[in-house]
């Protein structure tokens, strides 16, 4: 079955074969959202499980993500015609004052791989910009990353900025980064804490499922 082939090649990080197979599937008249769900997302989910169980490692996940992006670029025009299957939109960024963005990038890549639509605001992002983007984009989540104890307090300001726009509770806030803890997340009124990129995806998926 072509979906299995796509998923298998994606797990191998084959950035040449995945888009070729996706094109082939579309040429055979298969529905783009099925190609996405049963081929690409199924492949990324399998990589996620193997990563959690330490059968594969971060570089393998990232190679798979590159193959996934190559596949999505083929699907995108078709999906745009039919409307993206919404698993939720996530606004993500590294908070103001902080320039570390590798962790945030990994979370963004893995969320995309799990079928979320990600709006990446980059690094050094002021609180108001998160709130503004969450409102404008109709985001289900806002993901905040900080790698410094001195920039962690900006996360609380983002929570406050969302509340002052009437988005408190409606837009879920997920926080993570080396100095951030579950206790800190609770203290500032964030909805979710993620220890790493894999747990960020799991928690976002759980919340999206309700």
């Amino acid at each position: 079955m072509i979906y299995d082939d796509i998923a298998r090649r994606l797990q191998e990080g084959d950035e040449d074969q995945v888009p070729r197979l996706v094109s082939q599937a579309l040429a055979h008249g298969l529905a783009p959202e099925e190609v996405l769900e049963k081929g690409l997302i199924a492949g990324m989910n399998a990589v996620g499980v193997k990563f959690r169980e330490r059968e594969v490692f971060l570089p393998d996940v990232l190679l798979a993500a590159k193959a996934m992006h190559a596949g999505i670029s083929v699907l995108k025009p078709k999906l745009a015609q039919e409307g993206l299957p919404a698993r939720g939109k996530v606004v993500i960024g590294t908070v103001q004052g902080d320039l570390h963005d590798i962790g945030k990038n990994l979370v963004a890549i893995m969320l995309k791989g799990a079928g979320f639509e990600v709006v990446d605001l980059g690094k050094d992002v002021p609180p108001e910009r998160f709130a503004e983007a969450a409102e404008k984009e109709g985001a289900a989540f806002v993901g905040l990353s900080a790698l410094l104890t001195t920039t962690m307090p900006v996360m609380a300001k983002v929570v406050e900025a969302l509340r002052s726009r009437g988005l408190g509770g409606k837009v879920k806030v997920m926080v993570g980064g080396a100095p951030v803890t579950q206790d800190y997340a609770r203290e500032i009124g964030a909805d979710l804490y993620a220890f790493d990129a894999a747990s960020a995806v799991e928690r976002a998926q759980a919340l999206a499922r309700g």
């Binding site: 990232l62 590159k66 001195t150």
Partner: protein, 264 residues
């Protein structure tokens, strides 16, 4: 910039130093290990690891500034903005130092630019491996400096300028070890006074309003040359609970391979 070393390889200058990039390149296995790869990596991943190291070698331009200070001078820098944790292990170590040297080291701007570019083109794995390799290299660059502060000859220009150091030269193993703002209770705001004193802008380093250095892949702090036993820290302070680094117990006795075998 010069290499700042005498014939025996010891530091002898406070002018900006150029560090040979080959001296600080980590090996491919360390890079993969730091990414969680245990056991043999598949060929594609191993190839990317080598590619990341080649990129690092071509793009990094490691440079450092280092300056020996007296105990009083260091205390002023260490006090920073008055935000340090108390108690903290560093304040229990440096009074016994026979040498104190402020330092800052950077790999330069190009590596960071390349990492960003790789993420933009979806080359996530290579970008991430380069990021990890650069982090390891920055740490090795700091270790390179540390190795040149090594006992027993105490050749580093870290001798006190005034201000008597208590403890002096203990009749036991002497070991230089680095400590940085943001770790072990030394508040990150300590960067402000460290920068004011050391002026690492000379090697292209800048400090933002959160006291974060840019370019990333830079390390700053103090190298404390003190009896080895003084460096042994028990991670039992309140702030240790939230520390994910936890290298305090191992790093006092080790140094990355190839860096300063001559050191204690």
């Amino acid at each position: 910039m010069n290499d700042g070393l005498d014939q025996e390889g010891a530091l002898r200058t406070t002018a900006p130093l150029k560090i040979p990039v080959r001296d600080i390149l980590p090996d491919a296995a360390s890079v993969l290990r730091a990414q969680g790869v245990s056991g043999p990596a598949r060929k594609k991943v191993a190839d990317l690891g080598r590619q990341a190291l080649a990129l690092l070698e071509s793009l990094a331009s490691p440079a450092a500034v280092v300056e020996g200070v007296s105990l009083d001078e260091f205390m002023e820098v260490f006090r920073g903005e008055g935000l340090n944790e108390s108690p903290n292990p560093i304040e229990k170590i440096f009074p016994f130092a026979s040498g104190l040297a402020l330092f800052a080291v950077t790999l330069g701007d190009k590596v960071r630019g390349k990492i960003d570019a790789l993420f933009t083109t979806d080359d996530f794995a290579l970008g991430c491996l380069l990021d990890t390799a650069a982090s390891l290299a920055a740490d090795r660059a700091a270790a390179w400096l540390e190795a040149r502060c090594s006992a027993p000859s105490q050749r580093l220009r870290a001798r006190p300028k005034g201000g008597a150091l208590s403890g002096g030269r203990a009749p036991q193993e002497i070991r230089p070890l680095r400590y940085s703002p943001g770790y072990c209770g030394w508040h990150l705001s300590g960067q402000k006074k460290l920068f004011a004193r050391l002026k690492p802008e000379r090697i292209g380093l800048r400090l933002n309003e959160s006291w974060l250095m840019s370019p990333l892949k830079s390390v700053s702090g103090v190298i404390v040359t003190a009896p080895a036993s003084r460096h042994a820290v028990e991670p039992s302070y309140g702030f240790c609970a939230s520390c994910r680094n936890r290298t305090c117990k191992t790093r006092s006795g080790t140094r990355p391979e190839g860096l300063g075998k001559e050191a204690a």
